[in-house]
Every structure is written in structure tokens, then in C-alpha cells.
Symmetry: C2
Subunit: 230 residues, 2 copies
């Protein structure tokens, strides 16, 4: 068996597990968002702000993939939502079986959520091809990482339905050509949405919250106003 055979076998097994997850999330009406970015782009910070803003209206939870430490799940719990860390044992991405296992072990707290955030391992490459049963992928890009990244890491920006530009409060201090990023993302994925946010100042965050509520309502075939409070 060659390296390529092994990879294809792994991806086929992952796709089967992801299909099971997607069916379960469909039955429970849970919107599942798979967040992918470099280390330090602000995934956890975005989710902390989201938890604080939406937890009174929606049941939110998180799964946090990392090589080491429980830090990210602790941060989400401190922000008031249930969260579980998945340590990948060195692997540079989460896979669908790990998500299944974490949900099964966690039991009650992560069942029946309105929105489940899956914070992938900090990596712009490896997580791209592993379906986790999500409704959509979100790619994050901080303004400090440079405006050439979509074309340098095209696979994730082509697959992410939403690109969130983060740390926009630092724009005055860095060289970052936002229109160039918009053009690159648009070329890779014409239907992608691009949001510009600063979790620190709150700028742009309302658009992100509205997007989540709209996607949840669309999944449930219900108007946004009818979304259940906990």
C-alpha cells in the first residue's frame, strides 16, 4: 500500500464518519461551524466574544482541537459555554471519529445545541480535507499575517464559505491590503462571504453574529425571530 493509498483509505473512512455526524446534526437541528486558521489568528478569541454575545439567546458549545494543552476549552468554559478539548496526539488536524468520540464521551452538555463550534488545530493546510460533518467551514486570517495568504494557501480559502479577517484594530499598524485579500478570496471562491472584524473593539462582530443566526434559521427552515432561547 503506497502513501497515497493510505491517505485515500483514511479520507474515505473519515467521509463515512462525517456523514454519520452530519445526519445526527441534521436530526438535532444543530448548526456546526468548523473554524480553520493559522495558530494565533484569533479563533478562540472570536469564540469567546461570540459566547458572551449570544449565550443568552442560543445554546452554544465548542470542541477545541490542539496538539497539547487544555487552554482553549478552558477559555470557552470561562466565557460561559460548555467546551471539550480534543488532543490529537501530534496530528495536525481533527478528524470526524475524534469529533464523534468527544461528543459521545461528553454526553449531555454538548447534546441538543443550537450551534456547535469546532475549533480545528491551528493549521492552514492539514484540516482542509477532513470533513467533520460541519455545515460550513470558516477560514480566519488576521491582518498581521499578510495580505498574500489566500493565494499561498488556496485550498482552505476555496473551501471556506466564510472568511473572517480578524484583529482589524491592528490595521493602522501593519501593511495589509484588504481589497487585495477580497480579490484573492473572490477568485478562489466567488460565493464566499468575507467579514472584517475586531473581537477586541467589537467592530464587525454584529455581522458575524447575524450570519450565525441566519444560517441556523436557514438550517431549521424557520425565521431568525423564532430561534429558541435556552
Amino acid at each position: 500500500m503506497t502513501e497515497i493509498d493510505v491517505k485515500q483509505k483514511i479520507l474515505a473512512a473519515n467521509a463515512a464518519a462525517a456523514g454519520e455526524l452530519r445526519a445526527a446534526f441534521g436530526a438535532s437541528g444543530t448548526l456546526v461551524v468548523n473554524l480553520i486558521s493559522s495558530p494565533g489568528s484569533g479563533k478562540t478569541t472570536l469564540l469567546e466574544a461570540t459566547a458572551r454575545a449570544l449565550k443568552s439567546r442560543l445554546r452554544l458549545g465548542g470542541l477545541d482541537g490542539d496538539i497539547a494543552t487544555e487552554r482553549d476549552a478552558e477559555r470557552l468554559r470561562s466565557a460561559g459555554i460548555p467546551a471539550r478539548q480534543i488532543l490529537t496526539g501530534g496530528a495536525c488536524h481533527l478528524d470526524a471519529r475524534q469529533v464523534e468520540k468527544a461528543l459521545a464521551e461528553e454526553g449531555g452538555e454538548l447534546a441538543g445545541l443550537d450551534v456547535l463550534f469546532i475549533e480545528n488545530v491551528g493549521n492552514l493546510i492539514c484540516p482542509t480535507t477532513y470533513d467533520l460533518g460541519e455545515d460550513f467551514k470558516v477560514a480566519l486570517l488576521s491582518v498581521v499575517e499578510g495580505d498574500d495568504k489566500p493565494f499561498k494557501y488556496p485550498a482552505i480559502f476555496a473551501r471556506a464559505a466564510v472568511t473572517v479577517v480578524t484583529k482589524a484594530d491592528l490595521l493602522p499598524h501593519v501593511d495589509f491590503d484588504l481589497p487585495a485579500v477580497r480579490r484573492q478570496v473572490g477568485a478562489l471562491n466567488p460565493s464566499a462571504r468575507l467579514l472584517v472584524t475586531s473581537a477586541r473593539t467589537g467592530n464587525g462582530m454584529e455581522t458575524w453574529y447575524a450570519l450565525l443566526e441566519e444560517e441556523l434559521a436557514a438550517k431549521r427552515g424557520a425565521p431568525v425571530e423564532a430561534l429558541a432561547a435556552p
Copy 2:
């Protein structure tokens, strides 16, 4: 053959190729530095500044690994040193055979260098276990990525002889606990050197240049003053 068998076979083949590279670099007295970081931590920016500062004294060259685009090698050539892009075809790291092939194809320009910089694919995880025949690895961490990264990505910070903290000019605008990073890196690798730099302002860069010259002199068993000019 299992996934683990395949990985071990790949790493064994890589180690053999890396050994050949290391012998060749030893014979030519070329110091080889393997730079590893997240996307956007400032590897290319560090090398542009290094090229401009040292190219009158030392023969420098670069190999730039990426998933896509020729941008990084173009930036180094614009800074006045020979450089060649290696496109990895989707792989999240360089391997020793790719380095061998690129050097063989490039021929003259990258032969007989004083210092060869290998800028790995932007990734804190995958490049860690692939020996490229380098003298040492350098891990870069920008102050915007957060002060929790060494413990979250321990393998690279344990293996890098040098950690370069980058974009220090942004320290006034972010929460970044430098002593905490120093403690984490020290715990993972007690002999590691940690430099704090801003390629934009030049702060800390002289220490980086001096480190390169000292390492080159040590490799050649000669005093720094005796290093050849081009």
C-alpha cells in the same frame, strides 16, 4: 502496511537524504538554517532584512517552500540574493529530497554559499520531524500570535535551537507576555536561544546577524573576523 509503517518508511528515507545533504554542506562549509513558523509570522521579512544587511559580507541564498505561488523567492531575489521556490504540491512541509533536487537544478547560484536559508512551508507542526540537513532549526513566533504558543506546539519549540520573536514593534498594541514565552521555551529546550526582533524597526536584528556569523565561524572553526567576503 499501516499508516504508521508508511510514515516511518518516509521518515527513514528522509533521514538518509538529509544525511547526504549534511555531508555536502559540511564539505562546502555552508551554514544551513531551517526556518519554521506559522504562516505570516515573518520568515520572509526576516530574511529580506538579513539579505540587505549581510549580502555585502557573506554569500547568502534561500530555498522557499510553499503550497502555491513563487512570491517568497521573488521577495528574496528582490532583496539581492539568489533564491528558488519549491512548490510542495499540497504537502505541509519540505523534505530532504526536495531540497536536494532544488539545489541540483539550481546549480551554480546556490553552490558554495556561506549561509543557505531554508524557509519551510508556513506550518508549526508538519515540518518539525523532517530533517533537511540543516545545522539548526529556527522557530519564529510573532507577538500577535499569542503568548501560549510554545506549550500548544511543543515539538517545534523543543527542537529549535533558536526562537525568534518577531514583530516586536506591535508589542504596545497586543497582549503578549514575553517572560511567559521565555519560560515556556526554556522549559521545552533549556539550551535554546531566544531573540526579540522587529524587522520593521531593526530592533534586535543585530543580535540575529551576530548569531549567524558566530554559527558560521564555529562551523568552519575560524574566527568571525576571518569569514570570507564574496
